[in-house]
């Protein structure tokens, strides 16, 4: 079923130059991830080797092989956010929620990731919550975000 969708996505990008990245983004948007079984399908569609496709998928941090939690919190650990205490937020996540970066909670409610710079360098510490940028975070605001995610 989902592989039919992958083929359709590939077909809809036919004619675009260098279409693999747009296709991978579209697959991830539709399926929540780029499942390993999509790799041979895409290789076939694009007349590439499986190694080529796998190489691209694994090169970019964005593409995941399993879906993320219902809420994804990406904490910025760039220098500008480090300068205003980003590391305190990271340890808070680790100590309070017992989650390490890159991990999804067992109940599937929350994924926490690190990111290097969200372009909110004057209003850090920053994070992206389900694609939405948040600024001037502190421990209390981060806790509220996490609690809200777990409730959902």
């Amino acid at each position: 079923m989902s592989m039919t969708l992958v083929r359709e996505i590939a077909a809809s990008h036919r004619g675009q130059r260098g279409a693999l990245l747009p296709i991978l983004h579209a697959v991830q948007e539709a399926l929540g991830c780029v499942p390993p079984e999509a790799i041979p399908v895409l290789a076939d569609e694009l007349n590439l080797s499986r190694a080529d496709v796998h190489g691209v998928v694994s090169f970019y941090h964005d593409f995941r092989s399993a879906p993320a939690g219902r809420t994804t919190v990406r904490i910025c650990r760039g220098e500008a956010c480090q300068a205003v205490g980003a590391e305190r937020l990271v340890s808070q996540l680790q100590d309070r929620c017992g989650m390490s970066l890159g991990e999804t909670s067992r109940d599937g409610s929350l994924t926490v990731e690190q990111v290097f710079c969200l372009g909110n360098c004057a209003l850090g510490p920053a994070a992206q919550v389900n694609g939405r940028l948040r600024g001037r975070l502190d421990e209390a605001r981060l806790s509220a975000i996490v609690d809200e995610a777990v409730v959902q």
Binding site: E87, L118, G119
Partner: protein
């Protein structure tokens, strides 16, 4: 009350990150409750980011600013007369006259925060498309010469003269050529590209179209990092509007120019901000750096001649064409001509955008505009030019912002991002972070970068653990030499810059310490 009052609330994602959407909603409801008719415009941000959300109200005296405004303040402000520009605690005065803004020289960012980013009519009313019209009246050679004469250098960091790059592409005879905008703004401390794409997207489209005309390109790509979803959405919407207006597509503005433009989204790889890696990524491949030569201007995207410029470079081109090379060239110092869009971030009191002519000193930016640290503690170090830029102490605050002056001081202006740290910063941890970041983000093609960065982390760990300090410092110096001289691109080649500058200016931090300190800044 008769005519609706115009109220501006920024749609910039930095402003939204601190509640601008909630403020806009609260303003709309408060107006409805009062039976007051308002026209709510979601403008770009003025770049006075510490005042965000910054609400502006159009009055007879000009646009009166209030900020920072929280959604919970709105009812009180509205009943106190905000829509009439009343004197209230958060009232800042006429925004254009605020000293912080008035002292700047906004050239590239002239429209920023003034207009509705997705209104093509607003764009035209505020001087948009004048540059493209002037360009199309002249020959492509003339346009290239104008850009060369302006002295405009690449704003992405390397500072290569834009006109020379354009001439190389122009002189290639290929039928297919490309214009690529590098909007993979991955350096921490830089956000001007994002703001420009969110706040004045037609300007970038106009700049790219001028570039296409000048070099004879027919296709263009804006490569935007995936961390910037709002910039992606705004650019895509603006491109669609531009097609509708005849600003893109076949016969641009009724001329013989055909130019197609589309947005491509990155995949979260920092290295794709390096131009050849970006081209590989645009081709649908791993973002592996290419060896140069051949240069992208001759052998670029899909092997075709390609202009690769940063967002701010391309966005400055319309101004150069509209007002002439001479006007632009008169700004600045030495070989750094025109203005730079400096970005003040990190631990800073007044963070945001300062666009001003080259030549302003680092201290004027950090202490003057920036007002020192947000924490109130003394400034200890500033990193200029992103994660690959040098850490400088207060003693260097008299350095003028000038490409060559910075190089002479073992630093770089880069993209104009300035990140401030207070006295609590551990510079050995920052040096370690530079190496660890390089290890994490290296494309892996060349050994000095791929392996050197890993070894760099280990050596710094040994130094801070007190193991053979002097020998390991010498070893680190050697390693930095190898990375600088032997890496294929700036990633490995410049990672030694923050490391060496930290050792040079903050040697006391490189003594043995307790193990706990090492975890700071560790990715």
């Amino acid at each position: 009350m008769s005519a609706p009052v115009t109220v501006y609330v920024p749609s910039d994602s930095a402003a939204r990150s601190v509640g601008a959407d909630e403020v806009a909603d609260a303003l709309a409801s408060a107006a409805a409750r009062q039976g007051r008719s308002i026209r709510l415009v979601r403008n770009g941000s003025r770049g006075l980011l510490w005042l965000e959300p910054l609400v502006e109200v159009e009055t007879e005296d000009g646009r009166i600013g209030y900020g920072p405004v929280a959604a919970s303040d709105v009812d009180g402000l509205v009943s106190g007369g905000l829509f009439d520009g009343a004197e209230l605690p958060q009232r800042l005065g006429v925004v254009d006259e605020l000293p912080w803004l008035a002292a700047q020289n906004r050239v590239t960012f002239a429209r920023m925060g003034v207009t509705d980013p997705l209104s093509p009519d607003d764009y035209l009313r505020h001087g948009g498309m004048v540059g493209l019209v002037r360009a199309l009246e002249r020959s492509p050679e003339d346009v290239v010469a104008e850009v060369t004469d302006s002295g405009l250098r690449g704003r992405g960091g390397a500072g290569f003269p834009a006109g020379i790059k354009w001439k190389t592409v122009h002189d290639c005879v290929d039928a297919l050529k490309f214009v690529c905008c590098n909007a993979d703004e991955g350096d921490s401390g830089t956000f001007a590209d994002r703001m420009l794409m969110e706040g004045d997207p037609f300007l970038l489209i106009e700049g790219m179209t001028i570039a296409a005309y000048a070099v004879g390109a027919t296709e263009g790509y804006v490569y935007i990092r995936s961390e910037y979803p709002e910039a992606v959405a705004t650019m895509r919407a603006a491109i669609e509007i531009a097609y509708g207006r005849g600003w893109l597509g076949d016969n641009v503005l009724g001329s013989s120019l055909n130019f197609d433009l589309q947005v491509r989204v990155g995949g979260g790889a920092y290295i794709c901000g390096e131009e050849t890696s970006m081209l590989e990524s645009l081709e649908g491949k791993r973002g592996m750096v290419r060896a140069k030569p051949p240069i992208p201007a001759i052998n670029g995207l899909f092997g075709k001649p390609t202009v690769v410029n940063n967002v701010l470079t391309l966005a400055t081109v319309p101004t150069v064409l509209a007002h002439g090379a001479q006007a632009y060239q008169q700004l600045g110092v030495e070989r750094s001509r025109g203005t730079q869009v400096f970005q003040l971030g990190g631990n800073i009191k007044h963070g945001g955008i300062v666009e001003t002519a080259f030549g302003i000193t680092l201290g004027e930016l950090v202490d003057g505009y920036g007002g020192g640290t947000r924490s109130g503690r003394p400034v200890r170090a500033v990193q200029v030019g992103g994660p690959l830029g040098a850490y400088l102490p207060r003693a260097k605050f008299d350095l003028p912002m000038d490409y060559e002056a910075f190089v002479a001081a073992g630093a770089m202006v880069g993209h104009g991002g300035i990140v401030v740290f207070d006295e609590t910063v551990d510079m050995a941890a920052q040096a370690r972070f530079a190496m660890e970041f390089c290890a994490a983000e290296s494309c892996g093609k060349c050994t000095p970068c791929r392996v050197g960065a890993v070894r760099g982390v280990e050596v710094i760990d040994r130094i801070t653990a007190g193991e053979h300090r002097d020998e390991n410092l010498a070893l680190l110096e050697d390693l930095c030499d190898v990375m600088t001289e032997g890496s294929l691109c700036a990633m490995g080649g410049l990672t030694p810059m923050p490391v060496r500058s930290a050792i040079e200016h903050f040697p006391d931090d490189f003594y043995a310490r307790h193990a706990s300190a090492k975890t700071e800044g560790k990715p």
